[in-house]
């Protein structure tokens, strides 16, 4: 009996000393989600009109910028505002008729990606077969805040990387701007100057392609 009692005491002491009762190992979770791929969609093709003169080095400018237009209202910085798209013609200059107010539309391109995520946008110059093109324009830049007036248009400089924020879920703009931002989106408005690099042929449509780079 004595031996047995001693044996139990030793056993208890062994449990107390065991580190298993004093320690804990816990699996803690870590998680995240990757951004969706960024994409760009043409909403409206850039179009310089139908009255370009024919000589080498003649130019036609489509005036698109934050200052000249479309302004924050007409730009549809709130993407569901239709003003600024399709029916609005931009002012022109150079060797195309500036008095013709019903010709020439800005290129409008929609960028989609992660809500509130910054993207880098570069609108590139073009050296084409019949004409060259130096873009100007403006990009919607969202502040991600639920207060008015924080969103703005950022002017485009050709061949230069511009960083803007896509609209966030909480973005709110001034009611006068006519709509609600769409989370994860912004718009690019493109005009610029086109210069004939060859003598052009009368009554002939000319088309070239320029590029816009978008990356996170």
């Amino acid at each position: 009996m004595k031996f047995n009692t001693l044996s139990k005491i030793f056993c208890l002491a062994g449990i107390i000393a065991s580190p298993l009762s004093l320690a804990n190992q816990t699996d803690a979770g870590i998680s995240f989600t990757t951004v969706p791929d960024v994409s760009i969609l043409q909403l409206q093709a850039i179009q310089f009109g139908g009255d370009m003169t024919l000589s080498l080095n003649d130019t036609c400018s489509l005036l698109v910028s934050a200052a000249v237009g479309p302004d924050e209202v007409d730009s549809g910085i709130a993407p569901n505002a239709v003003v600024g798209e399709a029916a609005t013609f931009q002012q022109r200059g150079g060797s195309c008729d500036p008095t013709n107010a019903v010709d020439g539309t800005a290129g409008i391109y929609e960028v989609s990606g992660g809500a509130g995520v910054p993207v880098k946008i570069t609108v590139n110059t073009l050296t084409g077969t019949n004409f060259n093109f130096v873009p100007t324009g403006a990009i919607g830049n969202y502040d991600g805040a639920n207060t008015a007036n924080g969103d703005s248009l950022q002017d485009i400089t050709a061949d230069t990387e511009h960083t803007v924020n896509l609209a966030n879920v909480n973005d709110v703009i001034n009611a006068a701007q006519g709509g609600s931002p769409q989370a994860g989106k912004t718009k690019i408005f493109v005009g610029g100057t086109l210069t004939a690099s060859t003598a052009l042929t009368a009554g002939t449509p000319y088309t070239e392609q320029f590029t816009i780079d978008v990356t996170y």
């Binding site: 699996d27 803690a28 870590i30 995240f32 990757t34």
Partner: protein, 215 residues
């Protein structure tokens, strides 16, 4: 033979005394009890998250600040950083680094010990898988000390044990708000995407290990 007879006689004598001598000797049996110290348990108060805007580029880095020096150094029971007005609980913390945008949530964990002033050791371990590596290198392990102003926020190196005194330091000052026997600590750190990159618009998750032990 003679020695054997003597031995037998002595044994018989002892048995006789044991059976009949209640007035000469007694043996009682009494309980002795002891309880083991309570297990240490780690409770997840808020899960660690790097948000929803991690870029897919391989080998890119995203940092989640888990120890904001601007807001003091001690976490109270409710996750508030004592000496500042900001709370980590249910609050996004801005991410930094080229591999992400937006905000994340620091992990908040709670340990309840058996007694006031117990000292425990906490180890937060890294995790690595085919998609990403997480190094918990930005965190706050409060070390409560009696009195005011002496509490400290220890930044734990991944995989290295750190000791902390757990006490209800309710004497005001920097420790005000702490709860007896309760320790909360935060975990942030660095997320690094695998060389091969990630898939867009995809959730990723894993677990990292936290070890706690009495000192």
């Amino acid at each position: 033979m003679q020695p054997n007879k003597t031995k037998i006689a002595l044994v018989i004598g002892a048995l006789f005394l044991g059976a009949s001598g209640a007035s000469n000797a007694v043996q009682g049996s009494f309980d002795i009890t002891i309880a083991t110290i309570a297990d240490l348990n780690v409770t997840e108060v808020q899960a660690l998250s790097f948000g929803s805007s991690v870029f897919t580029t391989g080998s890119s880095v995203c940092n989640l600040e888990g120890n904001d020096p601007l807001f003091g150094d001690v976490l109270a029971e409710d996750g508030t950083v004592i000496t500042g007005a900001t709370t980590y609980l249910a609050q996004d913390t801005a991410l930094s680094g080229s591999g992400c945008a937006g905000g994340g949530r620091v992990g908040i964990y709670e340990v309840v010990t058996a007694g006031v002033g117990d000292t425990i050791s906490v180890t937060v371990n890294s995790v690595s898988n085919a998609d990403f590596t997480f190094s918990p290198n930005s965190n706050c392990l409060p070390n409560y000390l009696p009195g005011t102003g002496a509490n400290a926020c220890l930044i734990m190196a991944p995989g290295v044990p750190n000791t902390s005194a757990v006490t209800g330091d309710l004497s005001g000052g920097a420790g005000e708000g702490a709860v007896d026997n309760t320790l909360r600590f935060t975990v942030g750190g660095t997320l690094t995407t695998a060389v091969g990159g990630l898939t867009a618009a995809t959730p990723y998750s894993d677990v990292f290990v936290i070890d706690v032990i009495y000192q």
